[in-house]
Symmetry: C2
């Protein structure tokens, strides 16, 4: 069970911090560019510098979508596992039938994944049926455009994102579902928590996006289990040859800040 393993890791690290591994090619330090797999070289150094503070690592699939990228991602996942830290692949996938089954093979290596609810339950079934893995369903995302569809009011009274929270509870046959709810809209974070009291949240938007850390902790955890993510705020905290040390410091600081509210 992913959420049990995550709970153990949260205890061990005394942290609910998810460190986003988004090695933007335009921002990698120059001295790593000579490596065979610069993204893997970058991630390894980030993991070495931050692993004491990380409840999980969250690589976003967007940064690995090429031949070398998938190799870098595989190395990264194996390295995090070597340190007993779970890996949540931020893929936001959903597709139908045999295609969804194919996407679900991403869980052969990752421990958890983010998925998009727009295509409905059968599109997520190949993920959900992996009962040992964690499946985080996008609910209320942290970007400004999140309101365009997610905040539309339904005839039954709730918003689309509230309906998604209800559906996620319905779909949670194996107890392996969590929700993605951004820290940039703290009132909505609270509403979703009331609606889905038992689901762990992945709360993005606390770092570079300026979201509310206190609300993220107050509403993001279910029985102490949940994740608050920062990506750019940690991995690009510094530049040049000292980037990893700066990332380690940023991770430690954010862990402590989050722990003030736990």
């Amino acid at each position: 069970m992913f959420f049990e393993r995550l709970a153990e890791r949260i205890d061990t690290a005394d942290s609910v911090l998810s460190v986003g591994l988004d090695p933007d090619p335009d921002r990698l330090p120059d001295h790593l560019r000579e490596h065979d797999l610069p993204r893997w070289a970058f991630n390894r150094r980030i993991i070495d510098a931050t692993h004491e503070h990380a409840a999980c690592y969250k690589p976003n699939a967007a940064f690995y979508e090429d031949a070398d990228g998938w190799r870098a991602l595989e190395e990264t996942i194996a390295y995090a596992h070597g340190k007993n830290i779970p890996v949540l692949l931020d893929a936001k996938r959903a597709d139908i039938g045999n295609t969804a089954r194919q996407y679900a093979t991403l869980l052969d290596t990752a421990d958890a994944i983010t998925v998009n609810p727009y295509l409905g339950r059968d599109a997520l079934e190949p993920f959900l049926s992996r009962d040992e893995k964690g499946i985080f369903v996008l609910c209320r995302t942290s970007n400004p455009g999140g309101v365009d569809l997610q905040n539309a009011a339904l005839a039954s009274g709730e918003t689309v994102y509230e309906r998604v929270a209800d559906l996620a509870r319905e779909w949670n046959e194996y107890g392996n579902i969590g929700l993605v709810v951004g820290a940039t809209a703290p009132e909505e974070l609270e509403e979703v928590r009331e609606r889905a009291p038992d689901l762990p949240f992945l709360v993005p938007g606390v770092g570079a996006q300026g979201g509310d850390a206190e609300a993220a902790i107050e509403h993001g955890l279910a029985s102490g289990v949940g994740l608050v993510n920062s990506s750019r705020g940690i991995i690009f905290a510094g530049e040049g040859e000292s980037f990893a040390g700066a990332a380690g410091e940023a991770a430690k600081r954010l862990k402590r800040r989050l722990n003030e509210y736990r």
Copy 2:
């Protein structure tokens, strides 16, 4: 402009058929398995056998998400381009900020892409701003679970998928947006066409999923431009060493069947 180039291709091939290139590893013919890149070997033979009948090729990204897969995809796209046939990458992506920008680099090689509307406009902006490319927004998908969220009734009277059609029209600043509307729900296909009279549709679900070919043509095209896709019904029409010939015959048959209604 993608839709102008697509219109030319539809004229040249006298076809609105999109051939889905979904090389399911479990279904590849045995004699191709010894190749360095079996998926590319498979796709090349499918393209050789079907190119006269194809308005475009539509690889689904799910089948290429590993190191060799991305190499196979790149070879496939280049080969289709060598035959002057556009490639629509069925990726159903959406993400926020710098991550969406990274996903949009998938359009550096592909001519068009499918995207998921759940995260709203800013998540799609890096795709939409590629005004020479085609961006197909998921509206009403062909799977049974499509109803779970897409058919929910909004307080304003329309369904979620109808709202998506309205948003897509709003977002269509560059005239490069199409909609994905499944052939498995012909009445809804008609409703979306009434709502968005000018947008070309990509209509999946006509082959293995049993959708309505006549409705796909009647409502899927805008000024004659649109695509009706079959994947498994064509590429796995035959087995063993004669698979490519069978695919060619299946593509020709479906093209003719669709042309009866054009």
